[in-house]
Symmetry: C2
DNA sequence: CTTTTTTGTGCACCTTCCGGACGAACAGAT
DNA sequence: ATCTGTTCGTCCGGAAGGTGCACAAAAAAG
């Protein structure tokens, strides 16, 4: 199977053209497939027979309408068959673990969230995550042997080569390779990435950035991170640590950041910092949600937008998608919008839409599912 | 010719695989081509016969060595034949026009530079550029009908759709579409892009960034612009105006910039501003070159590096290439290096090399040649 | 000189795709 | 009810492409 003749590759490619067309456009007739791929109806018929025989696609019961007008023989529609088995996504945050089990078309079958102190207890969090995946499989009535892949994200940059979290940010994770650790516990191929990257993947595939190609996804939560989508693909950078926007210096004399510098963006807009900043002035205990209300003048948003404006000037994206626990705040979006309009070049600002993510807190875990699906498909 | 059957496309693709392999690796034997493409020797032989018949490749006189060891029949090498005809590159700066005429393998046959006030006199500059192209063709002894394409760059962002320079920056170019204008004068397909983009293309193809895939090319000259190379391809953004790094705010109370804001990076590091800033303290008239010496403490470099550090955090590139008239300054490079190390995340800073461009002032015109070659090849 | 190794090319064969023809299945008109 | 027009899916013969095998050519090694 390693080597394939050119003709075999050709037919393989055409098969793939059919399946990807079906994946993108939904069920279609053979004639539609011929029009969509540029191949002849005859060839499509042959390929479809192949694909039905191999179980990759199925003929649906309902028959569509002829290509134009109502006249003509109604077509038989074929659709991508949902492959047997399941994939799982694991979202590890600073203070929570969220797990989703989905079928191989991405439909979530079971989802669960648990809160615990992740940062200090890496091993415990990984144990818990593995247990939650097993629970999710049971809830979804999926055999453990039918789990094909696991995607996971961690709230820290992952070096592409070592697949490790760099030291310092999460003390309990020093020198741990999260993907390998979870893979050992579940005995299933596991793929790890940064949380913002997977959030971007989810919003790109099934969220606010559907159909776009150049998008900045910004996760505003405990920390601050970006997923950079360029040309329709996630840009991970030379060593896989692209998207570290939390340490842009926004004030010369700001607080000391965990990275060692002063005045980092993250010291201004992350959820815990906002709570800490505003708490002294209030009697009741502040929650993350209540912070959003208090920041009605959009200070946090403007700080983020200030940094994003520079990035927009450099990358000229179609959209900025705001995610994370603070991403749905209207005042945040308004602040970002205002700052982008103020600091980015006019044409750049005019070209970029600033929108809230559609997937909320689930973006990361759904992106992890997408990652697992992408890794198991080819 | 618009439609092509799948088999025809297959053979076309295989032909292209051969030519691109020859383009990347130089002259090869048929057997090497078979090993390189994965096709059989028989097929390669047939394709090579085709390609020799169509004149796309030629059999060289010298015969290479057998694949391994000295034993075996020595192969006949085939090489990409340099197609007849020429392409031209035009670099329009704020105060100069530079033109290069090259054969279709990219070897420069004639090159010329002229200084004039471009900004105020768009029509005159375009007339001059067209004349210089014609002069270059004469020098290179190329018939005017053999000129296949022209690439050009302008020192301003070009909107992808309208292909126009946005108003304001270059008064004499308001509502002008540089590509269309030059095309009308030369009656040859002309493709325009931003100067930093084409500089990046040149350094990527034949300069300091050969073989890299994620590179920030920064042009430091009259203005400040970046060419962003990601995944081996130039990133132009949603509307084609990516790379505008000149208007990052580096000081709240800086000079007023031509863009309307205060404290833009461009007000600190562009050549004319540096001259204007330093001139009062010196008797003799300062040149751009002399400014470099005076900035030995690297102030300008540190300002640029400060902005680049943020961008590196977001994009995690392999290299930053410094181009433009100030790009070869050692103090500039040192300043950028220092600021990146200071302000970027340690892992990001460690992953990025800061190097001077190898092509100097010729980068843009060579990139324009590359653009023309890329557009005429397929 | 013989053997070994590598190269380039004819030939028969297989795979893949395509155009034309044909029946099937519907809508609308008569 | 019947006819006509249209679209859909498939079968068939033929063309185009790629591959394995065999074989001659050309050099080095023994």
């Amino acid at each position: 199977m390693v080597t394939a003749g050119a003709l075999e590759r050709l037919r393989d490619g055409n098969r793939r053209a059919i399946t990807s067309l079906l994946a993108n456009e939904g069920p279609m007739s053979r004639a539609d497939l011929a029009r969509g791929t540029g191949l002849s109806r005859t060839t499509i018929s042959s390929l479809v027979t192949d694909l039905i025989g191999s179980g990759d696609i199925v003929e649906t019961a309902d028959r569509g309408r002829p290509h134009k007008g109502g006249s003509g023989r109604p077509p038989h529609l074929v659709a991508l068959s949902v492959p047997r088995g399941a994939v799982a996504g694991v979202d590890i945050g600073h203070g929570h673990v969220r797990v989703a089990v989905a079928d191989r078309s991405g439909v979530v079958l079971a989802e669960e969230i648990d809160t615990l102190d992740v940062d200090e207890h890496g091993v415990a969090a990984l144990d818990r995550a593995a247990g939650m995946v097993r629970d999710g499989l049971a809830t979804a009535r999926v055999e453990r042997s039918d789990l094909h892949a696991v995607g996971m994200c961690v709230p820290a940059p992952l070096d592409r080569r070592s697949a490790r979290i760099r030291t310092g940010i999460m003390p309990g994770w020093r020198h741990l390779s999260p993907g390998d650790e979870l893979q050992r516990r579940l005995d299933v191929p596991t793929f790890a990435d940064n949380d913002a990257n997977l959030g971007a993947l989810a919003e790109l595939g099934r969220g606010a950035a559907r159909g776009l190609t150049d998008v900045l996804y910004v996760k505003v939560a405990s920390g601050l991170g970006a997923g950079v989508v360029l040309g329709g693909r996630l840009h991970r950078g030379a060593t896989g640590i692209a998207g570290e926007i939390g340490h842009v210096q926004v004030g010369e004399d700001g607080q000391v950041c965990r990275c060692g510098n002063r005045g980092c963006l993250e010291t201004v807009v992350s959820a815990p910092r906002l709570v800490a900043l505003l708490q002294p002035a209030y009697d009741e205990e502040l929650t993350v949600e209540s912070v959003l209300e208090l920041d009605a003048d959009g200070d946090a948003g403007r700080s983020v937008g200030r940094a994003l404006a520079d990035l927009c000037n450099s990358l000229n994206p179609e959209a900025v998608v705001l995610g994370g626990s603070l991403g749905t705040s209207a005042s945040l979006a308004a602040g970002v919008r205002a700052a982008v309009d103020r600091y980015a070049q006019p044409d750049t600002a005019a070209a970029v839409r600033v929108v809230a993510g559609e997937l909320g807190d689930r973006a990361e875990v759904l992106g992890a599912v997408s990652l697992a699906m992408a890794k198991v498909a080819p």
